[in-house]
Symmetry: C2
Subunit: 586 residues, 2 copies
């Protein structure tokens, strides 16, 4: 009897050892920290008074000197890091000094995926849920690992690199589903968002962003707020014949989730090709935002930020789900710092735009018509084939690209890390060849008014204006982190990791990480109870292509014109791939 | 008159701006710190009492994730870092926060050089003298740069990669000459040391390590201590006919200089091929040490540590020039922790061996006969073609490889970072084909007695015994640094950078750098007057080939048998390439 009891106890112990630890308040289990995508940490031990003493606690090399866009995740005593292609996953043991490797998982993505990655071979990280770590590989495979052991649970091939499809985004796990979308808007592919079963990886639903309603998962529950989004098969009829089949609308950015409404929110990328003359019409459902039922994928509403997009204004940016006092009542809103240069505040139940205000330099869109929901394009800056249109602001990379904002409930401010670039564009006819670039513009970008190429804007979404701004010389391509210590963290493309006062923007601390930062900072509580700040350093991505691709600074149209905007970057930073973890000295 | 004066003053100012700053006491202008190769810093602000508070001050990514074996140099307000192939040189501005790039020089070495690099594409750093920064590229070119601007002053192609020649060593500048030697002992090349004119790069003299006396620069002033080294054209007659032409004896390690004797000291590499049966004879002048006149290159003396080397015991290790109390008088000696497992103490004027004692596990050599100067080989461990000889200690990498020791005048101890590996060997016949490996053994290495693969030994060269030892699990492949703060710094192959008490070996501080350390730590005084410690992190080299070459751990004979000794390394570290600079918080 004693022996049996002992064996049972041992069994229980073993099964405990393999069970997932429950998420703790100091965990960071998804790139945006939470479903509302606030990127806010309630940890406040590191504050404006002591952050000057912040020091490197340990570092870890990913071994891949390409753009590091991922957020490191922390669950219990383990940190998870996903590297750029070939997308290794590292699990670091936070209980031991120096956080040595607990396990490493090395997938074997198809090398040819690198050839159809538009903008470096980046990866934006993974997600943790229920003992499982999920991430995507560049060649379009979603992989689930046992978070405790790194053992593969399942993998599902979702994208076809032969068509130019890749995956760079971080998945989001909602209930029992893994939400995944594709990249490749510059290759004439069709965008989609899919839900995979967390347990076995089978595809539960898949919603395309162009084409007939049945494939877009538009049905009886679809109630868009604006008339322009209502009608049958708009994903077909707002395109020239057959063009929707190669029309883009990829899903490579961020997903948010409102558990009360059971809706997921995500943006759709630019229509293809960039040369808009080849695709008359609104080009639904590109450059907009979908709200979908999390269980069925059925669309609830859609709103198009940039109908018939003229400028490669992907609409994949983050959606912050906030409850804000607007017009004397608390509204459940989405705050969206959109690539087209406007901060939108939208009712997240209906898709109504409550306000839309410019947060950067903008001349391409005069204003947003709140009645129709449509932007009023500035005819003076409409690109036309055969001529060069100069001085368009913002440039193709928008007033802000993928790198996500943070929100602090302490200040009520949204911290938007963004850019200030304008451009000259000449569109040209382009033919579709499967698996090759389908763009059709020559362009070069450069610093906008003021000369600073980066900005951190603290935006008040209620007052609809900036509280303060920090200008940065280089494009700001990292994410932001807000903490209960009254601080905002972000990184610069020349390698500085900075903490500024959340109320004033005053610089409180900075550290040189040795390579440009384009990653997403996070904060967590370590097993020892202390607060830590972590960020990946390693320049790259579209903005850093000149460095990691070793491009010629004289090629003004290189990297779709971004080379011209970062001609000096090779003199200021080099490739890298290192995780830095900071803490206050004991 | 006033105008003329002003112009003259301006001219003086300009010429000052371009003149080299004079070396300061806190500088580190050559990899070994000084001509005596002590790697000792007289800075003592960081000591055993406060080192626990040592923190990362800034970091810098070399952008190349291969083995980082260089010592960062500091001259005035500038730090110089040389990366692995393609060998960029970075000059960092220490006067500005985060030490941003002042200039970068990117040579364009022939990519094919990588194919004839035996053991990763490492570089051991540069040297500064008289306003000039000198370094070598893997493809065998010596390059001199204006240290202030990075402008190329001259370059001289010294090696021929088509024959398998490369250069990985750090040059040494002695008076107006740059001393440079070649790598490639596994490719049947002929070793040499050359002196180039610091001003214009022309070759002043070149001394081969095999062949007729006239090419070895052996003349009337050659007075070797031992009879076995005396005779005409021993570089020919101690080889089978013509074999000296492909006999190795490369110069890829360290050079020391005694200004009083005007002698330079350097070691010569293994004879080729490794299969000793193919080259009966002593194989002069391989696996030994030359003392040469610094001006003419004429040999003064030679001593052969491993005549007719049986085990790839290159003799390129560092020579510490110390004045030690031996036998009741102060002797000017060389202390040499030799690859064959013995610490030699030699009279540096004559080449006489005063003592030779084992500092690691050794069974291949029974003892050193001080009368003849010859090692007594253990016949039981003599490899023979057609059979496997097991349990040879040390293995091919020796009791210690290239990674250099440090000496503290405070303790009188030599701090030897080294390894503890044994091996099984089966030689086989090999034919010479120019530019391809010329080795002729299958072998595998593994942990020696005790199971620890690395050791830091504090050796007392007067008492001829170890004062203390620190055992390390992984092979110890980094250099050592001793400081006036009573500390010894070194790094481990799993990324720990450590400080131990110079008197006891007690661990005082450690920091996880994120990739294995095989670099050379240095200490310097910054422009702000504070003491700094710097080291490059980034695993690789022969010992780390399994990681940077992504070799299969099951291939026991991979990387000439080193894979078998570091089968677990991929689980413990990944590639990296980052400079870490540490200081006490202000």
């Amino acid at each position: 009897m004693k022996a049996i009891l002992a064996a049972t106890a041992l069994g229980a112990l073993l099964s405990l050892a393999h069970a997932a630890p429950p998420p703790r308040d100091g965990d960071w289990t998804m790139p945006a920290h939470d479903y509302a995508s606030t990127r806010y940490s309630a940890l406040g031990a590191i504050d404006a008074n002591n952050v000057a003493r912040l020091k490197v606690e340990f570092t870890f090399s990913t071994g891949i000197d390409r753009g590091q866009e991922a957020a490191p995740l922390v669950v219990g005593d383990t940190m998870y890091v996903v590297g750029p292609f070939p997308n290794p996953v590292f699990a670091l043991d936070l209980t031991r000094p120096g956080a040595p490797l607990r396990w490493k998982y090395q997938p074997h993505p198809q090398p040819a995926a690198q050839g159809v990655a538009c903008c470096d071979v980046v990866n934006r990280g993974g997600a943790y849920a229920n003992g499982t770590f999920v991430f995507n590989t560049l060649d379009g495979t979603t992989i689930a690992l046992d978070a405790a052991t790194g053992k593969e649970r399942w993998k599902t091939r979702m994208a076809d690199i032969n068509k130019g499809e890749t995956i760079t985004m971080a998945p989001l796990v909602v209930k029992d589903k893994v939400l995944v979308g594709n990249s490749g808007g510059e290759f004439g592919i069709r965008g989609w968002l899919a839900a995979l079963d967390l347990a076995d990886g089978h595809v539960v639903w898949k919603a395309y962003d162009t084409g007939p309603d049945v494939e877009v998962l538009i049905g009886p529950s679809f109630k868009p707020f604006y008339a322009g989004d209502r009608g049958k098969d708009l994903g077909v009829s707002t395109w020239p014949p057959q063009a929707w089949k190669i029309g883009g609308g990829t899903v490579w950015g961020w997903i948010s989730y409102d558990p009360a409404l059971n809706l997921v929110y995500y943006g759709t990328g630019n229509p293809g090709p960039w040369n808009a003359d080849q695709r008359p019409g609104d080009n639904k459902w590109t450059s907009g935002i979908f709200a979908r039922d999390a269980d069925t994928g059925q669309a609830r509403w859609f709103y198009q930020f940039s109908p018939h997009d003229l400028y490669d204004y992907d609409a994949v940016n983050e959606n912050l789900l906030l409850d804000l006092p607007i017009g004397g009542t608390t509204r459940k809103v989405i705050v969206r710092p959109e690539r087209n240069g406007f901060v939108y505040v939208m009712d997240r139940a209906t898709g109504q735009v409550l306000s839309a205000d410019p947060y950067g330099n903008n001349n391409s869109i005069l204003r947003i018509d709140l009645r129709s929901g449509r932007p009023v394009y500035n005819a003076a800056y409409q690109p036309k084939p055969g001529r060069t249109t100069r001085g368009i602001c913002p440039g193709s990379a928008g007033a802000k690209d993928w790198n996500p904002s943070a929100y602090s409930p302490q200040t009520g401010l949204v911290y938007i890390p963004h850019i200030n670039l304008c451009m000259d564009v000449e569109p040209s006819e382009v033919n579709y060849i499967a698996g090759t670039p389908y763009v059709g513009t020559d362009q070069r970008m450069y610093a906008g008014p003021g000369g600073n190429r980066g900005v951190l804007t603290a935006w008040d979404p209620v007052k609809r204006k900036a509280a303060w701004e920090v200008k940065e010389d280089l494009p700001l391509w990292s994410g932001a982190l807000a903490t209960a210590g009254g601080l905002v963290f972000y990184g610069t493309m020349d390698g500085w990791f900075k903490a500024v006062d959340a109320r004033t923007g005053a610089l409180k601390w900075q550290f040189q990480t040795g390579s440009g930062i384009i990653g997403q900072p996070v904060s967590y509580r370590g097993p020892d109870g202390r607060q830590y700040i972590a960020v990946l350093s390693g320049v790259g991505g579209w903005a850093g292509a000149i460095v990691v691709g070793n491009l010629d600074p004289r090629d003004a149209t290189g990297a779709s014109g971004f080379v011209n905007a970062t001609r000096d970057l090779k003199e200021k930073t080099g490739p890298g791939g290192t995780l830095y973890v900071f803490a206050l000295p004991k």
